[in-house]
Symmetry: C2
Subunit: 354 residues, 2 copies
DNA sequence: ACGGACAACGTGTACGTTACCATAACGTTG
DNA sequence: CAACGTTATGGTAACGTACACGTTGTCCGT
């Protein structure tokens, strides 16, 4: 009653297990007719390779290069934690994670990849900033046979194996719907983003604008402000925005770099006055949500992203599966009523997974 | 540079691998002093057992009994799909899933468990209805050394290994917060639930009532209606509710059994008039959300629940880990703007995981 | 002093797979 | 026709672990 192995195939066919191995793995040195017989019999017996035995025999160490920025730390630290979690729960294969860190999105990433050109990774995880800049470097990796998985944003046309991120269009659309529900009176909305060259950020704003036009035509939209992930700049821009005559009734912060803006709101005594929807979640943000000063935040689930990204990559390396080229997670809508669940998670990152 | 094995421990200590094996696994026939030395050296070398080798040697088939109800099918089919997904991605061990199905929550479950008393499962997954009724049966399993994991609701005091479910208090609290945001004018709210003896259902209503009192004191709450997961009954109750003089301005449906109620709303031409928040997600519900006739639904992520439940159980069986006794998932808040993501998932269950 | 009982420890084998070497049959070449 | 390459195949050693079994050593009663 035990599952059939290559021995069973060999025995019923009267050949040796060496032959069966050659047939099953497309190795040379076997008569095409024999190969066909073996494959047919394998199918017939419902042969599934015993992965424990395989990985025991091969005992290969898998080296994965992980290229994530340092800033915004709250986000990318969780992403790294997720990657580590996936590595530690994988059974029967030993994985070397090589973390490479560059200052921020689209800053130093390409240089780091080029400097590591001699490294022989089995696979690479990367958080791409500007697809145009980083694209060629990724293509280079792929052409050397190294599969690349993009995390948290995408770099299409880079021939990467897969991309895993929160669905940014939806993320923006949710923000728009929430504003449309809460703000009945006409007014204007502002958006502060990171970097419009980053696909993920651009898409959030597209989703926001599109859904706002659909659901809340009474709300006008100011041109997007780019903070380039720099806290000081974001703070200055927010102050300027809030001090102008026609100040916005609501602000959508589509980057995790939201604290400087909230500080600006406090300084101008507009916190609670202006409706705010933020992105991502970290300890400093929690009290704003708990007190209702921030309406909601759209949690991008970095831990889950990191975990699934490595799972996809490993699955490809070990089993040769072709994953869906894009995988889009649903962001969590975090409100006063459910922040308790998430606050617990971000305090003990990696311990449980939401 | 390869990870140390029992051979390495044995060699550096000048003992045999047999002794190391006895020490590491608490087997008899070893001098306590030797055992201590081995354990210390193992720690020192950072010994991690090679799980591939272990499961190759043991080659045990693991039999898991899965006791879920048939109704509500949309929910429990996804739950089963999640369990299957976890089984198929586990590497190096062959798992026999034995699905047992009873008509509905708290109906035939205990009888089925008793009838299977002779079965020798290595572990059991169960969706408990009434903790009082099913508790003794579960305790019986545990005392026979069979670990039990509760899914989708809990049965505390049953000595189950763990329980995984959506955080029901939060689920109810979210519904209350959404109502409080959308309904500015005073009015009354009704709740229709499944079975108040089911812990999960009771907690949702507690969370709802508590948060409603906090955030929306202008909204009054009618006594909860129990539909006992029966579609016809739910339909009749809804009609009665809607035809009474002081009809509610909003309804919170805390059970997946929501379609009969929505039908009643259509028949009384009150759909869109009365604000509705539902629970869970299935194809029939999608158009209601897409058109805004239903404000939101709180998705309980059955697929994820099933997957993690089996993961927890297997992890315990294979590695002997003690999991957190309760694990609470955050429900997804599904609105017009993000239903697209979920609709894709429920159409192709198991293909991707949100 | 001897055998038996028992504790403590060593040895060998099997798990299913892959990698590699050995071998046999056959054709090609000088 | 000897020498050698090619092709298809068989045989076997690992990989690290678990477990049954065999081997020592010690103590004790007679």
């Amino acid at each position: 009653m035990k599952p059939p192995g290559i021995h069973d195939i060999a025995r019923t066919l009267g050949v040796s297990i060496g032959t069966v191995d050659r047939a099953l793995h497309g190795r040379p040195g076997i008569n095409p007719a024999t190969r066909a017989r073996v494959l047919k019999k394998a199918e017939e017996l419902g042969y599934r390779p015993n992965i424990a035995a395989r990985s025991l025999k091969l005992n290969r160490r898998i080296r994965i290069g992980v290229y994530f920025p340092r800033e915004i730390a709250s986000f990318f630290d969780s992403l790294r934690a997720g990657v580590r979690a996936a590595a530690s729960t994988s059974v029967g294969l030993s994985i070397d994670l090589v973390f490479r860190t560059f200052p921020r999105l689209d800053e130093g990433d390409v240089e780091l990849l080029r400097a590591d050109a001699h490294e022989s990774f089995d696979g690479v995880l990367v958080a791409p900033g500007n697809p145009l800049r980083i694209g060629p470097a990724l293509r280079g990796l792929v052409q050397r046979g190294i599969p690349v998985v993009c995390v948290s944003s995408d770099a299409p046309r880079s021939e990467r194996l897969a991309s895993i991120a929160v669905d940014s269009l939806t993320s923006g659309a949710i923000a728009a719907e929430l504003f449309s529900r809460v703000m009945q009176k006409p007014g204007t909305l502002a958006t502060i983003t990171g970097e419009l060259t980053t696909l993920d950020h651009a898409e959030k704003l597209r989703g926001f604008a599109a859904n706002l036009a659909l659901l809340a035509p009474h709300l006008a939209l100011l041109p997007a402000i780019e903070s380039h992930e720099q806290p000081e700049l974001a703070h200055k821009q927010a102050l300027a925005l809030l001090r102008q005559a026609k100040r916005p009734a609501g602000i959508y912060l589509s980057t995790a770099n939201s604290i400087p803006v909230l500080r600006a709101l406090e300084e101008t005594k507009l916190l609670g006055e202006v409706q705010v929807i933020t992105t991502d979640l970290f300890p400093e943000l929690v009290p704003y949500i708990e007190t209702g000063k921030v309406l909601a935040t759209l949690y991008q689930r970095p831990f889950v992203q990191g975990k699934t990204a490595l799972e996809i990559l490993l699955n490809h390396l070990v089993n040769g599966t072709k994953p869906d080229p894009v995988r889009r997670l649903a962001p969590h809508i975090v409100l006063r009523s459910n922040i308790g669940l998430f606050a617990r998670e971000i305090d003990t990152p990696g311990e449980f997974l939401i």
